[in-house]
C-alpha cells in the first residue's frame, strides 16, 4: 500500500517536472505558454492556459491599436509549422499586436478543439488555424465566432461554415500545374510516372492529385505521360520505403515519382539515391530534409522540387487576421486589403464555395538555391 502511494506521488512529481520543463523552453518564444506535446498533460494544461489568458487580457485591452491574434498550427514538432508560426509572430509584432502561438500536442482535431476552447476563454480577437480536420472543428469554431472572434484558416482549410476566409499557400490548380510541368520536364515529355502520396484520406493530397490528373487530361501536350499508380506511404518512412521499392519493381520503365508530401519525398529520395536508380523524383518537400538529394547529376535523385514559403504564409495569415479584426475585410469575395509590406491581396472564391486568399505560386527549390534554403527550414 505504501509503495502504491509512493509511486503515485513519484508519477505526479515526474509529470509536474515535465510540465515545468515544457513551460520554460517555450516561454521565450511566445507570450502565452504553448500547449505542449504530451497528451497526458491535457487536464493539467487547461487551467494553466486559462490562468495565462487571464493575466494577459488586462494589458492587451489597454494597448492602443494592438489586438490579440492567435495562431493554431497543425501540431508541435514540425519545422514547417514552426516557420509558419515565426512569420505569424513577426507580422503581428509589426502591427503592434500580441501573438499567441499554439501548437497542439498531436496532429488531431481533438487536440485542436481543446486549444480553441482555451483561446475562447482567453478572449482573443482572432484565431487563425491550420486545420487537422475539415469538418470536426466546426462546433468549436462556431462557438469562437459567436464569442466575437474572427476565424480564418491557413495552410489546411476548415469547412465554409467554420471560417470567414482561408489563407491558401497556393491554389490547388497552381500546385497541380507546377507538379505536372515538373513531371513533363523531367520525363522529357513522355513516359511512365507514379504518385507517392501520404494517406488515402489526406484532403490536400487528394485535391492536388485530382488536379494533376485533370490537367493532364485537358491538355494534349501531356498525352505522352502515363500515370501508372497512386501509391500511399502513410507519411511513415518505413512504409514509404516499401511502397517506393514496390513501384520500382512493378514498373521497370518508370521515369518519375512525384511525391507531394514531405515525409514521402524524403523516404523516396533515399531509396532512389541508395539504389542509384535512374528514376527521378519531384514533388513537395522540406529543403533541410531534401538538401542531400537535390542535384542535377545522376548521383542525386531529385532535380528540383517545390514548397511554399511558410514564413510568408504565416505573415499573410497574421495580416488577414488583423484585417478581419479591424473590419477592413469581412471575408467576402472581391474585397482587397494591404498585407503590410507584402502588398495587396484580393479575396477570391474558393473551390469549396467559400472564399480564400492565395499566397502565390509554389516556390521551386533547385540545386542553385538549396544551399541557401536548407538552413532556413
Amino acid at each position: 500500500m505504501k509503495k502504491k502511494i509512493l509511486c503515485t506521488i513519484l508519477s505526479a512529481v515526474m509529470a509536474a517536472s515535465l510540465l515545468a520543463g515544457c513551460g520554460n523552453s517555450k516561454e521565450e518564444q511566445t507570450t502565452a505558454s504553448a500547449v505542449e506535446e504530451t497528451a497526458a498533460e491535457d487536464q493539467e494544461e487547461a487551467p494553466e492556459a486559462d490562468a495565462a489568458g487571464g493575466e494577459e487580457a488586462e494589458p492587451e485591452t489597454d494597448a492602443a491599436g494592438g489586438g490579440t491574434y492567435a495562431l493554431v498550427t497543425k501540431s508541435a514538432g514540425n519545422p514547417f509549422n514552426e516557420k509558419e508560426a515565426e512569420g505569424f509572430q513577426k507580422a503581428v509584432e509589426a502591427i503592434g499586436g500580441t501573438a499567441i502561438i499554439q501548437h497542439p500536442e498531436s496532429a488531431t482535431a481533438d487536440a485542436q478543439i481543446t486549444v480553441i476552447q482555451s483561446l475562447i476563454s482567453q478572449n482573443v480577437d482572432s484565431i487563425c488555424i491550420a486545420a487537422n480536420d475539415e469538418n470536426a472543428l466546426q462546433a468549436a469554431l462556431e462557438e469562437a465566432a459567436a464569442a466575437g472572434i474572427k476565424v480564418c484558416s491557413v495552410d489546411s482549410t476548415v469547412n465554409v461554415a467554420s471560417r470567414l476566409v482561408h489563407v491558401n499557400q497556393a491554389g490547388v490548380t497552381e500546385i497541380g500545374q507546377c507538379l505536372v510541368d515538373a513531371v513533363y520536364d523531367i520525363t522529357g515529355g513522355e513516359g511512365q510516372w507514379a504518385v507517392l502520396s501520404a494517406t488515402s484520406q489526406a484532403a490536400n493530397q487528394n485535391a492536388w492529385i485530382e488536379s494533376m490528373k485533370e490537367i493532364i487530361e485537358s491538355d494534349s501536350k501531356y498525352a505522352g505521360l502515363e500515370l501508372v499508380e497512386v501509391a500511399y506511404g502513410d507519411d511513415e518512412p518505413q512504409k514509404s520505403t516499401d511502397v517506393t521499392q514496390a513501384l520500382l519493381q512493378n514498373y521497370p520503365d518508370l521515369k518519375v515519382i512525384c511525391a507531394p508530401t514531405t515525409v514521402g519525398i524524403a523516404a523516396a529520395a533515399k531509396v532512389l539515391q541508395d539504389q542509384n536508380s535512374s528514376v527521378k523524383l519531384t514533388g513537395l518537400g522540406l529543403p533541410s530534409e531534401m538538401a542531400e538529394y537535390i542535384g542535377d547529376d545522376d548521383a542525386h535523385s531529385c532535380p528540383y522540387m517545390f514548397l511554399w514559403n511558410p514564413i510568408d504564409l504565416g505573415r499573410l495569415g497574421a495580416y488577414t487576421s488583423a484585417a478581419l479584426v479591424n473590419g477592413d475585410i469581412t471575408g467576402a469575395a472581391g474585397e482587397k486589403f494591404t498585407a503590410g509590406d507584402m502588398g495587396e491581396y484580393e479575396i477570391v472564391t474558393a473551390g469549396d464555395g467559400g472564399t480564400e486568399i492565395i499566397l502565390g505560386a509554389p516556390f521551386a527549390f533547385t540545386p542553385e538555391n538549396i544551399e541557401e534554403w536548407k538552413v532556413v527550414y
Binding site: S11, Q238, L247, E292
Partner: protein, 332 residues
C-alpha cells in the same frame, strides 16, 4: 516415443507451423511477383524491418515475465531524435558514439520503467502508457520543432548503407539484427538469467520462493527492452537518414503482434526467440508484399489484419493439438 516422425515434428511445433505459413505466403506472393524472393528483395525486407525485428526480442522478454511495454517507440524516438540533434549541431561525429549514446539513453529509459513496474508495482500497461507519453513528449522537446535530415546527419547515415560489418556481403543493419538474435538465443536458452525470465513468467510466486529475485529480473527485462529500443532509434535514424520526433509512432503494436504471431503468450512464461523471429518475418513479408502484389491501398490494412488473425488462429490450433498429444501420452 523416441522416434518422432518428421510429420509429427512439423505438426508438433508451433515454430514449424509458422515456417510453413511463411513458405506458403512467400510462394503465393512469388506467383504474383516473381522477383519477390530475389536476394536483393530479401535483404531489403530485412533492412527495412530491422527495427521491428530487434525490438521484438525485447518484447519477447517483457511478455515472458508476463508484462507488456507500449512505450518502446517513444523511447526509440527519444534516443534517435537526441543523437540526430547531436549530429545536426556537431556535438558528436563518430558513428559508434551515436550508437552508444542512443543505447545508453534507451537503457536508462527502460530502467526507469522497470523500477516503476517492479519496485512500484504499477501495472505494466498503465506504467508504460504513461512513459509512452513522457518519452514521446521529451522527443518533441529535444527536437525543438526541427528534424534532423540527411544533410544534417553527415556520415552517420552511411552506416546503414555500408556492408563493412558484414564482410562486404551483408548490410550492417542486418548484421546487427542477426547479432542480436544470436545473443538472445544463447541467453534465453542457456544462461541462468534466461531461465529465470521463463521461471518468473510461468509462476512468479514459485520463482520467488525458489530464490529468484523477481524484482531484479523484471527490472532487467524492461532495461533490456529500453536498450534495444535505443539501439533501434539509432538504426532507424541511420536507415531513413532522418530523425523526426514522431518516428515509428504506433509501431509498438507491430512489435507486440510479431511476438504474438510467433506464439509468445501474453500471460507470460511461453515463447521463444525463434518464434519472435518468425513472427516478425511474417509481418515484414506482409508489409513488403501488399504494395507489390497490387492490393488497393485502402484495402491493405484490412488484408494485413486478416492475415495476422488467420496466422494466430492457425498457431493456436497447433498449440491445442500439441497439448492434446501431450495429454494422450501422459494417459498412456
Amino acid at each position: 516415443m523416441e522416434k518422432k516422425s518428421l510429420w509429427k515434428k512439423i505438426t508438433g511445433s508451433r515454430e514449424a507451423s509458422l515456417v510453413i505459413v511463411l513458405i506458403v505466403l512467400c510462394a503465393l506472393i512469388s506467383v504474383k511477383s516473381p522477383a519477390f524472393l530475389s536476394m536483393q528483395n530479401i535483404l531489403e525486407i530485412l533492412k527495412n524491418n530491422a527495427v521491428i525485428m530487434i525490438m521484438s526480442l525485447g518484447m519477447l522478454c517483457v511478455l515472458l515475465v508476463g508484462g507488456i511495454d507500449i512505450s518502446i517507440t517513444s523511447t526509440l524516438a527519444l534516443a534517435g531524435m537526441s543523437i540526430g540533434m547531436m549530429y545536426k549541431y556537431s556535438v558528436i561525429e563518430s558513428t559508434l558514439l551515436g550508437f552508444v549514446i542512443a543505447a545508453a539513453m534507451g537503457a536508462v529509459c527502460g530502467l526507469v520503467i522497470g523500477l516503476v513496474i517492479s519496485w512500484g508495482r504499477v501495472l505494466p500497461i498503465i506504467a508504460t502508457m504513461g512513459f509512452m507519453y513522457i518519452y514521446r513528449g521529451l522527443a518533441y522537446l529535444v527536437a525543438q520543432d526541427q528534424w534532423a535530415g540527411a544533410d544534417a546527419l553527415g556520415t552517420f547515415k552511411d552506416f546503414a548503407l555500408s556492408n563493412s560489418l558484414g564482410l562486404g556481403l551483408i548490410n550492417n543493419v542486418i548484421v546487427i539484427t542477426i547479432l542480436c538474435y544470436v545473443i538472445f538465443y544463447i541467453v534465453l536458452k542457456w544462461t541462468k538469467f534466461g531461465r529465470n525470465i521463463y521461471a518468473v513468467g510461468s509462476n512468479e510466486e514459485a520463482a520467488r520462493i525458489s530464490g529468484i529475485n523477481v524484482t531484479a529480473v523484471k527490472t532487467a527485462v524492461y532495461t533490456i527492452m529500453g536498450l534495444l529500443a535505443g539501439i533501434s532509434g539509432a538504426l532507424a535514424t541511420s536507415v531513413y537518414a532522418s530523425a523526426q520526433p514522431n518516428m515509428q509512432t504506433s509501431k509498438e503494436m507491430d512489435v507486440i503482434a510479431a511476438c504474438v504471431i510467433g506464439g509468445v503468450s501474453m500471460n507470460g512464461g511461453r515463447g521463444s526467440v525463434l518464434g519472435a523471429l518468425l513472427g516478425a518475418l511474417v509481418l515484414s513479408v506482409i508489409a513488403k508484399a501488399l504494395p507489390l502484389v497490387g492490393i488497393d491501398a485502402i484495402a491493405q490494412n484490412t488484408v494485413k489484419g486478416v492475415i495476422i488473425v488467420a496466422v494466430i488462429i492457425l498457431n493456436v490450433l497447433t498449440q491445442r493439438m500439441m497439448d492434446k498429444t501431450n495429454l494422450e501420452k501422459r494417459e498412456m
